[in-house]
Amino acid sequence: MKLFIFFLFFILFFPLSILNAQENDKKNEITKNLRCLICQGQSVYDSDSEFANSLKIVVDKKLEEGLSEDQIYEYFKTKYGEWILYDPGLNKNTYILWLLPILIFLIGGAIIYKSFIVKK
C-alpha cells in the first residue's frame, strides 16, 4: 500500500517537474547566449560572478513576466549594447561577418562548377 501511495505521488508530481525543467532549459539557453561582460570568454551561464548572477535573476524575472526569448535579448541589447549577445544581428558593423561566408561559398561553388562540371 505504501508503495502504491509512493507511486501515486510520483506520478502526480512528475509532470510538474518536467514543466519546471522546461522553464530552466529556456533560462539556460538564454543565459548561454549572453556574454558575461566582466568575465573573460565566459557566457553568463558559465560564470558565477556578481554580474552574471544578477543577470540570471533578471532573466528569470523577465521569463516570469512572459517575455519571449527575442524580447529578452532586445532588452539586454538596449541596456548593454550588441556586445552582450553572442549571436550578433546584421548591421553595418557586422555585414562582412555575415556576407563573407556566403560570398566565399558562392565563388567557390562557381569555381568548382566551372572547372569540374562544365568541363565534363
Binding site: S54, L55, W83, I107
Partner: protein, 172 residues
C-alpha cells in the same frame, strides 16, 4: 582565356580577404562600453536604505536637478578609495548624490558610512543586483551623471581626481 580567369580571381579573393583581416588587426580588440550615449533612466521599485520604506524611482529623481547616482558597497575596496572624492563632490550644491547600495549587508554598509561619512542625499538598496542591471551597470563602483531623467555620462570603476574635475565642469 579560361585558364587565366581562375588564378586571377583566386588572387583577387585572397587579396580581399587579406585586406579585411589586415584592417581587423588594426582595430582595438579591447571592449570599451559606450559611456556617452544619452539614455533614459529606468523605472524601478526599491527600498530606502535607512527606513526600509518602499520607494518608486520617479520620486527620487527631479528633472530639473543634476544627480550623480553612485553604486557602492561596503565590501568593495575601490569604493572606499573613491569615497573621499564623493564627499568632495557633495560640497557642490548643484549636484545631488544618490547612493545605490549593491548586494550588501546593511549593518556593514552603515558602519562604512559612519567611518567615512555620508555624501548621499538619498540611498536605496539593491539586494540582488537586478536594479543595477536595469541601469546597465557592470559592477561596483559605478557612477551615472543624470539630468532631466537622462543619463548624461557613465563612469565605470572608481572616480579619480580627473573625473571629479570633469563632473564639476559638466555641471557648470
Amino acid at each position: 582565356m579560361k585558364n587565366k580567369i581562375l588564378p586571377f580571381s583566386v588572387i583577387i579573393i585572397f587579396g580581399i580577404i587579406f585586406f579585411i583581416f589586415y584592417k581587423g588587426l588594426e582595430d582595438s580588440k579591447i571592449y570599451t562600453p559606450d559611456v556617452n550615449t544619452k539614455q533614459e533612466i529606468p523605472l524601478f521599485n526599491t527600498k530606502e536604505f535607512f527606513s526600509g520604506e518602499n520607494v518608486k524611482s520617479p520620486s527620487i529623481f527631479d528633472p530639473d536637478k543634476v544627480y550623480l547616482l553612485n553604486i557602492w558597497s561596503s565590501w568593495c575596496v575601490p569604493c572606499r578609495q573613491e569615497h573621499p572624492l564623493l564627499m568632495n563632490l557633495n560640497l557642490d550644491d548643484k549636484l545631488n548624490i544618490i547612493g545605490m547600495n549593491y548586494k550588501d549587508n546593511l549593518k556593514n554598509a552603515e558602519n562604512f558610512l559612519k567611518e567615512l561619512g555620508n555624501p548621499y542625499k538619498e540611498i536605496f538598496i539593491d539586494l540582488d543586483g537586478t536594479i543595477a542591471i536595469e541601469w546597465g551597470a557592470y559592477g561596483v563602483p559605478e557612477s551615472f551623471l543624470i539630468y532631466n531623467n537622462e543619463i548624461i555620462k557613465k563612469y565605470i570603476g572608481p572616480l579619480n581626481q580627473q573625473l571629479t574635475d570633469e563632473i564639476f565642469l559638466l555641471i557648470k
